[in-house]
């Protein structure tokens, strides 16, 4: 084996141009794979982040008509301790109502939060564009669209009318911008206590909203099942984002499959490239192989020569390819920018994926070297000696 390695290194060194060419070929294949992989993963992450990053990923609601969950304190405590991947738990009391101001009237979803908890999911503090968040009774935070539509200002009083025609005057303390117009024009955020009071639902909430860590985003269905099993309450309904976003999921899946396809074909072309060049090398070096065999080298050792050639080419190709791939990715995020200076697409640099691409390239190179290796072992020294 050591001899095979020595001879392989010497063969590769003696033909530097050719060696460099193959290494470059492998490197370009690996870099394309890494770039496309990072791009697709980045796209998916961005898409998932934008779609469900600021919403409830698992929601517990009451399965009964009245839509109320009582004794929620224990429930929240329990949910919090179920799974390490649960990153945020927030309770809310959501109720439909009417917003009246200056003779205008429109429907409004009044959401009563424990603001600190809700911030973990909705980033409420960061989304406030003006004013502050509701702290005291009968304070409300409205969407930026409402401000524009009705010419509202901070400290203005609006009237919230429940479906039971109960009217409550609230003070506008600020405006938020969720970058989603349906939310900006339909939500009113207030404290849990205010909501409970307005809607006469003291001691109860309408839903528990849960977010999971990034790593667990695609296993929310499993986590939802765990939650369901451990709280074991027939009267509660648990839904997760995957059942609510099937079209998004199938889109992501399609994207993944096409990305795998591209990567597989890139890899196949790399393998074919290495195999054909190494096959030529066997012919180029057939005289040397013949001499070595006349001197008594075993067939297994000649096989090692070519397997090592494949390994070395794969190794350097992979290293170079990773550098190229990272460089390309970096250039893409540096130069393909939106007008505001943020990259068009945030690449997701996943080190284990990059490492895996490198390892696959090395394995592929060794596999590609198998055919020439077997050919070399079948070479008969007498053919070389006789034909000079």
């Amino acid at each position: 084996m050591i001899l095979g390695l020595r001879i392989a290194i010497r063969f590769l060194k003696s033909n530097k141009g050719q060696t460099l060419l193959i290494v470059l070929g492998i490197a370009i294949g690996v870099s394309v794979q890494i770039f496309i992989g990072s791009l697709i993963q980045g796209l998916q992450k961005g898409l998932v982040e934008k779609t469900i990053g600021n919403s409830s990923q698992i929601t517990i609601t009451s399965g009964k008509d009245e839509n109320k969950i009582k004794d929620y304190e224990q429930l929240v405590e329990k949910v919090n301790s179920i799974d390490v991947n649960i990153s945020a738990v927030s309770v809310s009391s959501d109720n439909a109502a009417f917003l009246e101001y200056n003779g205008n009237s429109q429907s409004l979803l009044v959401r009563g939060f424990k603001i600190d908890q809700a911030d973990d999911i909705y980033d409420i503090y960061d989304r406030i564009t003006e004013g502050s968040y509701p702290q005291n009774e009968n304070e409300i935070l409205l969407g930026i669209d409402l401000k524009e539509n009705y010419d509202l200002n901070i400290n203005d009083k609006v009237v919230i009318t429940t479906t039971k025609q109960k009217m409550t005057e609230c003070k506008v303390v600020g405006f938020f911008d969720f970058k989603v117009s349906s939310i900006n024009s339909n939500w009113g955020i207030t404290t849990l206590e205010t909501a409970q009071k307005i809607f006469e639902a003291e001691g109860s909430i309408t839903s528990i909203e849960i977010q999971v860590t990034d790593a667990a985003v695609f296993t929310t269905d499993d986590i939802a099942t765990v939650i369901k099993d451990s709280i074991n309450r027939q009267d509660l309904k648990i839904v997760h984002w995957k059942e609510q976003n099937e079209s998004l999921l199938s889109g992501l899946q399609g994207q993944s499959i096409s990305s795998y396809m591209i990567q597989v074909f890139v890899m196949i072309s790399v393998i074919l490239g290495i195999a054909s060049v190494l096959a030529i090398t066997v012919i180029q070096k057939s005289k040397q192989i013949g001499i070595l065999k006349a001197m008594g080298i075993r067939n297994s050792s000649t096989r090692y020569i070519f397997l090592f050639e494949g390994f070395i080419l794969g190794l350097f190709g992979a290293i170079l390819g990773i550098l190229f791939g990272l460089g390309l990715s970096l250039a893409f995020t540096k130069f393909a920018l939106n007008p505001d200076g943020t990259p068009v697409i945030n690449l997701y640099i996943n080190y284990s994926f990059i490492l895996l691409s490198g390892i696959i390239a090395i394995i592929a190179s060794v596999l590609a070297a198998l055919i020439p290796a077997v050919r070399s072992s079948r070479l008969n020294p007498i053919d070389i000696i006789r034909n000079n």
Binding site: M1, L3, F11, S14, Q288, M295, N299, R386
Partner: protein, 228 residues
């Protein structure tokens, strides 16, 4: 003396459809430590005979016994090891590995056998190169020396594993007469000093006459077998 090599009724036919018989019922044996020459016109079958003796080629029929062992019963690996330990080849064309230096070429048979090269072995290779007058060019690439030097490198390489037998196919075929003389003297010295068996193909009558035995091959048959 012991027979190191024995050929019994060896035939060699090339081709399957158009048959071309090159050797006809060759019966021949060589003694250990002897210095033999094989002569004959080109195309007479002498190189084929040497390749069969060296286990590079296979006889179509007949037995080749080396130290009493039939080579037909040996596996590919056994044959390779046998070639490595027992036989040193010197071909008409030097057949050095162009990617390696003179010293590395000389050490190659040892490396094939042991994988690693010891300090002592390097010293021995250097001494052998001195013996053939190449100590000054030992670190040159095999392609960066003259034809005569390449042929002497091949001889040094054949010697490195202390083989029992050296097979040489016109080792001086493309050398001038002075170099030829030097190389034969060298081979003869080795034969006397290490008791190495030599089987040398040559068409140089003067050289052949220096051998202990002359075997002439004509049209695939032994035409003459002279011993001194």
């Amino acid at each position: 003396m012991n027979k190191i090599l024995e050929l019994n009724n060896v035939n060699k036919i090339y081709g399957t459809e158009i048959k071309n018989q090159v050797l006809y019922d060759i019966n021949l044996s060589f003694e250990e430590g002897s210095f033999n020459s094989i002569i004959g016109q080109s195309g007479s079958g002498k190189s084929t005979l040497l390749n069969i003796i060296g286990t590079l080629d296979k006889a179509t029929s007949g037995d080749v016994l080396i130290e009493g062992k039939d080579i037909k019963c040996m596996s590919a690996n056994q044959l390779a090891d046998y070639r490595n330990r027992t036989i040193g080849f010197v071909f008409q064309f030097h057949y050095l590995l162009p990617e390696f230096t003179v010293l590395e070429n000389v050490l190659m048979p040892y490396r094939i056998q042991n994988g690693k090269v010891t300090r002592d072995m390097i010293r021995k290779a250097e001494e052998t190169l001195k013996l053939v007058g190449l100590d000054k060019v030992k670190d040159n690439l095999a392609t960066k020396i003259s034809g005569g030097q390449q042929q002497r490198t091949a001889i040094a390489r054949a010697l490195i594993n202390n083989p029992k037998m050296i097979l040489a196919d016109e080792p001086t075929g493309n050398l001038d007469s002075d170099s030829t003389e030097t190389i034969y003297d060298l081979l003869r010295n080795i034969n006397e000093e290490y008791k190495t068996t030599f089987i040398i193909i040559t068409h140089d009558k003067r050289i052949a006459e220096k051998a202990d035995r002359i075997v002439e091959i004509k049209d695939g048959r032994i035409n003459l077998d002279l011993r001194k």
